[in-house]
Point group: C2
Chain length 427, copies 2
């Protein structure tokens, strides 16, 4: 590359301010490492008036994105506005104009991967997105490079800090979901509309990116099972802990099973002695099993202004050091027909059934399970006075998801069963 590398930043929000702060702090170190002058030449945002709390030369601020996209001296474009449009338009234009792109935009990558990939390839530029999954954690580069000799077998990720914070608090303090969520909202750990985080959609978008890198497969979000944590109760967590020695985590799972790929997001019972159980609070951890290396895990802050900026600026440095690196390894055209439908997934299950305690209830439930070839590993029912509502906890041996769904449907249709049945898969 040239003696001076010019960077244009689109989006001066939280992460954008983090990028400016990182450069303010470490520019001499960064320039010494990459051996060229690094210049943040332009920052574009609709709002260039608000004080972002970081030191910035006002002359580089602009509201006109063409000051970046059409500047022939601009080498790298950082896109941090998020969302689909105009982010996609900007990224494509930047690449068409021969600029490398760095982005943290998981939603965009998860939806428009093929178009972005193709445009980068056509224009001979790089697109880097380490920050899009796991914030500042070294994750995509290790998965792509350091583990390159492996056929990845499985990826288990705790990749949403909000959901993990809520589950951790519920677990440590025995509190209800709604209660902890409200607190998280007050503290700014959760959005006012929390569905994106707690219903698993954010996790799903990131899992799409991990699945591209790990398995060379691009799968759209509507093609796999995504389930959040809002139905989890302190009862479930307590039972998991005391009876099963497990914690409940919202996991992103992508794994090979008999040559098919399983991709899914749902709460999962994780044994306490598994390293993923030690990933607490807003932290993220991704556990990857390769056929040669075995299990590895990467852990760290999965979000936040500076951690995410660490990944964005390191991506820029990677591009400066190696502007011609192939975009991505890997077989990109693996047949997505080989995705295993959730109905075919085999798992052990934890069930919480709420029923009126009356003669024959347990007999009816066990009959339903038996008819569907689901064998019961353990049953716990608390003592209540007859005629009262009581939770029945069950753990099954391995069963097929479609049988479990059918069983739950039949169980819920029993007259004595008064509430929706919660079922959680075991890792």
């Amino acid at each position: 590359m040239k003696k001076t590398v010019n960077i244009g930043l689109i989006g001066f929000g939280t992460i954008g301010s983090g990028v400016v702060e990182t450069l303010n702090r470490n520019l001499p170190l960064i320039e010494e490492k990459v051996g060229v002058e690094v210049v943040l030449k332009k920052i574009v945002d609709l709002d260039i008036v608000t004080d972002r709390g970081v030191q910035v030369d006002p002359h580089i601020l602009s509201t006109n994105v063409d000051d970046i996209l059409e500047d022939p001296d601009m080498d790298i474009v950082i896109e941090l506005i998020g969302g689909y449009q105009p982010a996609l338009k900007f990224i494509l234009k930047a690449m068409e104009n021969g600029k490398h792109v760095v982005t943290a935009n998981k939603a965009l990558l998860a939806k428009h991967w093929e178009e972005i990939l193709e445009t980068a390839f056509k224009n001979g530029v790089r697109v880097c997105f380490e920050a899009s999954v796991g914030g500042g954690i070294p994750l995509l580069e290790p998965l792509n490079d350091s583990l390159a000799a492996n056929q990845i077998q499985s990826i288990y990720g705790i990749i949403n800090g909000t959901a993990n914070y809520i589950l951790t608090k519920m677990s440590e303090e025995g509190r209800e979901f709604e209660d902890v969520l409200n607190e998280a909202q007050t503290l700014g750990y959760a959005e006012q509309d929390p569905a994106f985080d707690v219903e698993g959609h954010d996790t799903a978008q990131k899992l799409i990116i991990l699945t591209i890198l790990g398995f060379g497969v691009f799968i759209k979000q509507e093609k796999f099972h995504v389930e959040g944590i809002s139905l989890i109760t302190p009862q479930d967590i307590l039972f998991a802990s005391e009876e099963l020695g497990c914690v409940i985590k919202l996991l992103a799972i992508s794994q090979l099973a008999d040559g098919e790929l399983e991709v899914r997001v749902h709460p999962t019972l994780v044994p306490k002695d598994h390293l993923l159980a030690a990933v607490k609070g807003v932290f993220n951890g991704v556990y990857i099993v390769g056929d040669v290396v075995g299990p590895v895990m990467m852990y760290g802050p999965g979000a936040g202004m500076l951690p995410t900026a660490s990944a964005v600026v390191s991506d820029c440095m990677d591009i400066i050091g190696d502007p011609n690196k192939p975009l991505l390894y890997g077989p990109q055209n693996t047949n997505v027909e080989s995705i295993r439908p959730i109905a075919e997934v085999v798992s052990r299950y934890y069930l919480r059934i709420t029923a009126i305690d009356m003669p024959g209830v347990l007999h009816a439930i066990s009959g339903i399970l038996s008819d569907l070839n689901i064998s019961i590993e353990s049953v716990n029912q608390e003592r209540r006075d007859e005629g009262q509502e009581v939770p029945i906890f069950m753990v099954t041996h391995h069963a097929k998801e479609q049988n479990m769904l059918l069983a739950v449907e039949r169980i819920e249709s029993l007259e004595s069963v008064t509430k929706d049945t919660v079922f959680i898969r075991l890792l």
Copy 2:
């Protein structure tokens, strides 16, 4: 690079066999990823007769290292014979002949880093050594690349599987060091001469490499404090667990403190809720704090035939993908004068003093500590009959190492103190 890349392997031992097995297993995947034909053209070892348990074409075996070093078509040389010579001679010759080098040889890198670096630079070739620290764990590449935007603040590593296995077993089963060591030797987890692992020398060599990558500083092993785990007893572990909520780990530490670099290897009390405490058995974990990203951790199998081969083969793929990548980022000439001597290190300490229980003992000990400005946080002394030997457990507030050494010397010179005093630093 060319359409065909030829690899020569020097050293057909455990890791060498792992490399062959990895290629046997994943060659189609590897070639699809890097987009060229990859040929293991020659394997050189003094012993080419022993069956290594992996499928290999006998025609590529040779006892003559020049079949690799002097072959003009050889692109990458993998060195896996270990030790200083002839490994150094082979590596330098390979680079002088324009070949890239991949090695797992931590001892060699830790001793001859400057010469190897300079030779690679002069000859425009790459030398990769991901396998030299943490076996198959993505560690050096993330530290160098994914965290590039950071001024690294600290590195805490559990990077010797044997020592960690022994400490884990002692902790979980309440057994003595010698007892577990003997078992580990029987199981093949420890060498017949275990000093290299349990006295911290292996950890020290790996720490030298981590310090080069993290801080751009090459420090020789004789310049820093290295201490092993052979004096740790079940008593220490029990007290650490029950009174301090800690586990004992053999840590490699490299960290900035007031602009100086501390480099040291010693047993350390790690709080149970720290993620490093969850790194158990033969596994490795390296916890890195960057000034921008905050804390991250990489975890996985730190040794073994296939895990280590995963890193070796991935390094080869990295070279194929990018033969011109700069050897290493970073300021390589940081003044090593700025290493803080261990005597100046400040830490909290756990002390186990063995003394005859008689009037005035505790008074004498506390007087010594007080004279040296070391204040005591807690004292525990079990009840024994007067005149019997009793362990006294103490935890100090922050104190300077040189004062602690002096204190221990004076304590040991007390008539009533009957055994060497054990002291362990707190993280």
